[in-house]
């Protein structure tokens, strides 16, 4: 019943034996042991579990681990080396984008995907890009400002 797969999570390969029904989220939080990605609904409704699979943002709660076999998976833990923060992480902190922080990992992953694909987004594009990520604390203001600020900094640096 169990299936052998290899997940590359944040650049590290993990050979794993998983239940065919196991979600990518449970596999990464449980078997891989990276708990940065959160479970807010287990039903594709909140975005707290957002990961990049080969650069594409997915709700990992509703994505099977076996579907990600052989893929590159990026979680919030992979956005920086943990010492020096990535510009988005820094900006979320300085601009009030983080309160309880439970939505933050998913938000940061969505924002990373957005800026990879659309380096200079409009405010509407930012809001649309994170509209699958629910935040109950911040009213999204600090989050939107943080993403805009990073985009502007990058544009300024050319």
């Amino acid at each position: 019943m169990a299936v052998d797969i290899t997940l590359s999570v944040n650049g590290v390969p993990y050979p794993l034996t998983v239940d065919p029904h196991a979600s990518l989220l449970h596999t990464v939080r449980g078997d891989v042991g990276l708990t940065g990605s959160k479970e807010g609904c287990d039903d594709s409704e909140c975005g707290a579990c957002m990961m990049l699979v080969d650069g594409r943002p997915v709700n990992a709660c509703s994505y099977l681990a076996v579907q990600a076999d052989g893929s590159d998976v990026t979680t919030v833990e992979g956005l920086s080396d943990g010492e020096t923060l990535a510009p988005l992480q820094e900006a979320f902190l300085t601009r009030g984008g983080v309160q309880c922080g439970f939505c933050t990992p998913g938000m940061l992953v969505s924002a990373t995907a957005l800026l990879d694909r659309t380096p200079n987004p409009s405010e509407d594009e930012i809001r649309t890009a994170v509209s699958g990520n629910l935040c109950r604390c911040t009213g999204y203001d600090g989050i939107v400002k943080a993403i805009a600020a990073v985009a502007a900094e990058r544009a300024a640096q050319g």
Partner: protein, 774 residues
């Protein structure tokens, strides 16, 4: 008084980063921080509950044998496995596990601990419960009829606060009265009556609650996503009949609460399972459980208001009758009747008052504190009612508020005389930010309008404690009983201590959310952390300061009066080179600690002699004043409302941590807009939730957000928190739906009398013939 503005979101030039970074920030953005559900323990078991199968039924028998026989099950517990005690805030009306009756769909009948979550849930389903099914009684208004069956048959014997006026299904009746409202109403130029009804709604933290319990000997530690660790501790101690010294509650990072994680909830259930199995036991709620199982939602409310005015806008009488849905149990919401009545009065000059409020039992999910409990609904009704009053005397609704809002020296509804407050200033500020003049000049399209609403919320003065201790290298640690819910209020405590000690906020670590470490605190509820724990930290830091000055005086051979603390040193004023570093003083090994609680401020005197069932809230301590103004667009064909622009002007006293305070307003306003337009718990005819999920219970998303502008009216408030501060967290949701409702009414020509004001309800109001009820 000073005024600080926060530019609207959406400005194309991003703001400069601000200096203060919350101490828990790095762990949150890197994903390395641990929330409760991130903890795992060797040998842990998983818990699941068997919930009531009917909203109202007598339990005839419970048979756990089949559940226990399932391989992988370690324990199944029921009321027989715990001491036979009831618990609850102002009325002790609930047991951990239902015994005689179940009273709502979330009542817990049995708990299971098993090797996996799946086995635990399977076993919970195998518990055989025989019921005598009784008719559900979800209609909380009908439940006060004399012939309505009494839900808590033993209510009269329950332990209860002696000030509560209780009677059968009426858990609490309250009347606020001043003067002869009946006579004054009869003499008014114009009398307006309104009836508004609000559905129940939910707090919806993005983190579903999680708990892990582990025993060592006779002591239990419970890691819990609670907003109130000390209340959780007393709940465990009381229901399991063990001393508080044997219970330790630790809160890992908390993923939001908004009130829903206040009160003692499931800590004892998990503790008893861990005790019986002698294993760590973990419980993590599904999103559906997070909606259905906590005894905690925003109460449904039926509100009748009547106001008598003179033609020039003097309110000569206010009468009201409010009925609130308490649901099955009291929890910590026993004071809601009184709080609701205060919000039916509002921050207005009223010559006479008589508002009666009933808090009734039903077979619905219990209601308890959600961000400013009772206020958003009552304020929504009152503020729309006031617009109706203004229309009846042909006055602009803003002008009516200008004439009736309270100011320094005015009287509250039970005679409280207000000290310096900024109610009127918030009104003018919000009008300016939203561009009310342009609206009055008719510069908006005819499907847009601006609505304005005012509101208030008290501060709660309660004891609180903290320690400040210096480390040998000149850094410091704050040990506090306070709880951080995400708002940043605990994270902001170093700002207060740093200023007193001439240190930098980043020199401080914080030890918090552990009942074995910090002194008792009420928890992250009532917007009270800065107000009360801030005061405690200030006092503790003052004690450390006094010690440092004395040590410095000896070292520098100077007089204490000539010394100051700055830049991490004790130095002579005017001669900074004559100094000794705090590190030198603290590094000797002699402990330098301070403890603090501070004197609890008290509310102004009031006269409750004409009130019934008073719990002492007729006078609001350090009231926070708010005006919200919303510009909305209404699609008349579909009823869909969009909030385009929003202004929030707040008097929360002096603002201690602006990033944190702004964040509360942005988040609170968005929550308020959700409550105004989409958020409701829909139920079937028996009170079962029909939308316990995030697809059907619709929160606002980033795409829904309007432009939000904030202005702080900063008044150094007497008799308040540190530096003249007041609370910040709850007021931002108070007048939001009232402002949105008044704007909608201006577009469609009538007030929507049900909350939330969904597209369907707006469409019906817009399309029903004048003079007819929807």
């Amino acid at each position: 008084m000073s005024v600080i503005d926060t530019p609207a979101q959406g400005s194309s030039t991003p703001e400069r980063p601000r200096a203060f970074i919350r101490p828990d920030g790095k762990e949150k953005v890197t994903g390395l921080g641990r929330y409760t559900a991130d903890l795992t323990f060797t040998g842990q078991l998983h818990a699941a509950f068997r919930y009531a199968d009917h909203p109202h039924a007598r339990i005839v028998s419970i048979d756990t044998s089949r559940a226990k026989a399932l391989p992988g099950v370690f324990a199944v517990v029921t009321h027989e496995d715990v001491p036979d005690v009831r618990y609850g805030g102002m009325t002790q009306d609930r047991r951990l596990f239902a015994k005689e009756k179940v009273l709502w769909e979330g009542d817990v009948v049995a708990g299971v601990a098993a090797r996996t979550v799946e086995i635990a849930r399977q076993a919970a389903a195998l518990v055989e419960v025989e019921y005598e099914v009784l008719p559900a009684q979800p209609d909380y208004v009908a439940n006060m009829a004399p012939d309505a069956p009494v839900l808590h048959e033993g209510w009269a014997e329950y332990g209860a606060d002696e000030n509560l006026v209780r009677d059968g299904n009426v858990m609490s009746r309250y009347v606020i009265a001043k003067g002869d409202a009946d006579a004054a109403m009869a003499g008014a130029d114009v009398v307006v009556k309104s009836h508004y009804v609000s559905d129940a709604s939910q707090g919806v933290p993005i983190e579903p609650r999680a708990l892990v319990a582990q025993w060592t000997g006779d002591s239990v530690t419970v890691w819990s996503s609670t907003q109130v660790p000390f209340a959780a501790r007393s709940g465990v101690a009381h229901t399991l009949q063990i001393p508080e010294s044997k219970v330790r509650i630790v809160v890992p990072l908390l993923g939001g609460g908004f009130g829903s994680k206040c009160d003692f909830h499931f800590e004892a259930h998990v503790a008893i399972l861990a005790k019986v199995t002698r294993r760590p036991v973990r419980l993590v709620f599904t999103r559906k459980e997070e909606f259905v199982a906590p005894d905690h939602r925003r109460e449904g409310m039926d509100i009748e208001l009547e106001t008598g005015v003179t033609r020039d806008g003097r309110i000569v009488a206010r009468r009201g009758r409010m009925v609130l849905d308490k649901g099955a149990y009291t929890g910590e919401g026993g004071f809601f009747a009184q709080m609701a009545a205060m919000h039916a009065c509002g921050p207005y000059k009223l010559d006479t008052v008589r508002v009666e409020a009933f808090l009734n039992y039903s077979t619905n999910q219990p209601a308890a504190s959600i961000r400013a409990p009772t206020a958003p609904q009552a304020c929504w009704a009152l503020e729309q009612h006031l617009d109706e009053v203004a229309a009846a005397i042909g006055m602009d609704p803003v002008e009516l508020r200008r004439r009736t809002l309270v100011a320094e020296g005015d009287e509250g509804p039970a005679g409280q005389v207000f000290e310096k407050i900024g109610a009127k200033e918030t009104l003018e500020a919000a009008l300016e930010l939203i561009g009310y003049d342009a609206y009055l000049r008719g510069e908006l399209p005819d499907d847009e309008a601006v609505g304005v609403a005012c509101g208030w919320w008290p501060c709660f003065g309660v004891p609180s404690g903290a320690y400040v201790k210096l480390n040998g290298d000149g850094t410091a640690t704050i040990v506090t009983g306070a709880q951080e819910n995400g708002s940043g209020s605990v994270m902001g405590l170093p700002i207060l201590a740093a200023e007193i000690l001439g240190m930098s906020p980043s020199d401080f670590s914080i030890n918090y959310q552990d009942t074995d470490a910090g002194p008792w605190d009420m928890g992250s509820s009532g917007s009270q952390t800065t107000f009360n724990n801030g005061r405690a930290v200030v006092e503790a830091a003052q004690e450390v300061r006094a010690k440092l000055l004395a040590m410095g005086a000896e070292k520098l051979e100077a007089d204490v009066a000539d010394l100051e603390l700055a830049d991490g040193t004790v130095r002579v004023k005017g001669a900074p080179e004559t100094s000794v570093t705090i590190a030198d003083l603290a590094g000797t090994g002699e402990p330098i600690l301070g403890k603090g609680s501070g004197e609890v401020p008290e509310a102004a005197a009031s006269d409750a002699s004409a009130c019934v069932g008073s719990l002492g809230m007729e006078s609001f301590l350090a009231p926070q004043l708010i005006t919200h103004a919303a510009r909305v667009k209404v699609d008349r064909d579909t009823g869909v409302v969009r909030v385009l622009d929003f202004a929030a002007a707040h008097d929360s006293g002096v603002i201690v941590n602006k990033v944190g305070a702004d964040g509360q307003v942005y988040g609170g306003v968005m929550m308020g807009i959700g409550q105004a337009l989409t958020e409701a718990t829909w139920t079937d005819e028996e009170g079962r939730q029909k939308n316990p999920g995030l697809l059907d219970y619709k929160l606002q998303t980033a795409s829904d957000g309007p432009r939000i502008q904030i202005r702080w009216i900063e008044i150094e408030t007497p008799n308040a928190g540190p530096k003249g501060s007041k609370g910040v967290g709850e007021p931002p949701s108070v007048p939001t739906s009232g402002a949105v409702g008044n704007a909608i009414a201006k577009v469609i020509g009538r007030h929507v009398d049900q909350l939330p004001m969904t597209a369907e309800r707006v469409w019906l109001a817009a399309n029903s013939p004048a003079g007819e009820d929807q």
